[in-house]
Symmetry: C2
Subunit: 321 residues, 2 copies
């Protein structure tokens, strides 16, 4: 099975779930956010890994749906916190229905996650819940750290990597691990796949940070330097701030308060180039990618499958958009 | 075991849980809301019923903690939606830490609910989750209806009873049912206890509606007519609006926009007395109470235990404050 096939299988399952379960007034916004699309990478990974380990298809689909529901729950609530008007080019749930409905339908989504998980094969229920709960709590911890960091004048690279590990890495780790767990894979394989996914998630976020400033605007499809304009402390920003001398530190302050976006992005590009932070971020990214692949090597799956997983991660991490 | 003893047992368990699990920045608000107190009726019911059925103490305590965590989660998010500054005389979580932290720590609480449930005896895990998830989703549906009703000029008594059944009744029903389920009681007993608790919860809310206007202010400990002042459509309001002739309907509109609280409450008292709605509400309450007791009669528990449960419900429903 290829990942692409897993996406199709999952989307079919999601469509039938939406038709059967999301008709009440409370759950309309749930149907809406799930219908905005997205790459469906996380759920497809659950289905795919489960199939590579020859697991039960239905359990794989349920696990996938739980992961996708949780991901979308976090989008609905994060969008309220970020006051984001748009998601995938459409109105966010809170823009469309108001904050109260967005809070409440997000809550309902989190309950639905567990309603879906409770349908899993009873022999795998407890371990799936434990895996999932820890990842879910980590995602919350990551979001809390992200909000805390906004209040700080600077943060350490180590702290940033911890935060993106929690906010982005754990759910990707859980997606790989859940696929394996639901197929009855060994605990050793489950843990290696978790680490593989988590480290791949961190590398993915670092790639995202780099592309924000150095990506091909046409391919990325969004404004160059969006993170700079929003004063986000990305891996580039953090490394640059660490390396800056006192004269350069003063430029950071000017940059932060610069009202003209184009000037702001130009200042950042110039400064970051001077400090050569792109290559630093690429190095950290490569380290995580390498560590991820080391974990992948350890799992007890045929070489063809491992190669497919590796190719998928390489595609993901070498994308230019 | 008496209910009072169950409260003490639960509070000890809660204290040790708080000490061991709620130390991170994310979970500080969780510790805070759980430390504001409250009667702990729901968790005590789980522990108590579990003991009356001679269940495993640890499972009873875990079920109780999950129910109390869920109840407090719903308070944190409801307080944001209601823009309530105070809860039990202290700052609400969102007043103290801001809306974003309140949304996020509430989300973390909901994950903690399931982290706690996942520790239950594996043989009871699936059925406990199913019971709990349905109740949790009903609580969300009830909150959605409550918000929808605010936008309507009038609602039917039947709709109101459905709403309070979902918003208040289901979690009380689930508390009784979970106590029984965790002790290995029969499905028949579990269902009767659910209905007993749900109907008792509805009767309790009707009592609350009546006391708001007709309670002894000193005993109730809050302003008489708080619901009237807030333009809430309670059972009294709904029945009065149903019975009102066109001249009296006009008084409703004057009452809604009256700025002076004392005048507003006097207008309501006069109108509601004229229409004799208190006795109507008492009648509906008695019907639910009777139906609840009919369910209690059906369960397979010794007479002493049944009498204790009945006495508890009578105390709860005949309180004057």
């Amino acid at each position: 099975m290829q990942l692409q096939e897993a996406i199709l299988t999952f989307n079919e399952f999601l469509d039938s779930y939406k038709k059967d379960h999301l008709k009440s007034r409370l759950l309309k916004p749930v149907d809406y956010i799930l219908s905005l699309g997205g790459k469906r990478l996380r759920p497809a990974i659950v289905v795919w890994i489960n199939q590579l380990y020859k697991g039960n298809v239905n359990d794989g689909l349920l696990g996938a749906l739980a992961v996708e529901m949780f991901h979308n729950f976090s989008l609905v609530h994060d969008d309220i916190m970020d006051e984001a008007p748009l998601r995938r080019g459409k109105e966010t749930v809170h823009s469309k229905w108001g904050n109260n409905t967005a809070i409440l339908s997000g809550d309902a989504m989190l309950v639905l996650v567990y309603k879906i998980l409770s349908q899993l094969d009873e022999a795998k229920l407890k371990s799936s819940l434990e895996l999932f709960n820890d990842a879910a709590l980590n995602v919350c911890e990551g979001q809390q750290l992200d909000m805390d960091f906004e209040e700080l004048s600077s943060i350490k690279m180590e702290e940033y990597l911890t935060m993106i590990g929690l906010k982005t890495g754990d759910l990707l780790g859980a997606s790989f691990a859940l696929g394996a767990l639901l197929s009855g894979a060994s605990q050793v394989d489950i843990e290696h796949l978790y680490s593989f996914g988590k480290k791949t998630g961190i590398a993915f976020q670092l790639q995202d940070d780099i592309l924000d400033l150095y990506g091909d605007q046409k391919k990325v499809g969004k404004q160059t330097g969006g993170d700079i304009i929003a004063n986000k402390k990305t891996a580039l920003w953090i490394r640059a701030f660490e390396k800056a001398d006192s004269r350069q530190k003063a430029i950071f302050e000017k940059m932060r308060t610069e009202a003209n976006s184009t000037t702001k992005v130009e200042m950042a590009t110039h400064l970051f180039d001077q400090l050569d932070v792109r290559s630093n971020a690429e190095t950290i990214k490569s380290e995580y990618q390498k560590e991820a692949f080391d974990h992948l090597e350890e799992i007890n799956l045929d070489d063809t499958s491992k190669k497919m997983i590796k190719a998928f991660a390489e595609d993901l991490l070498n994308r230019e958009f």
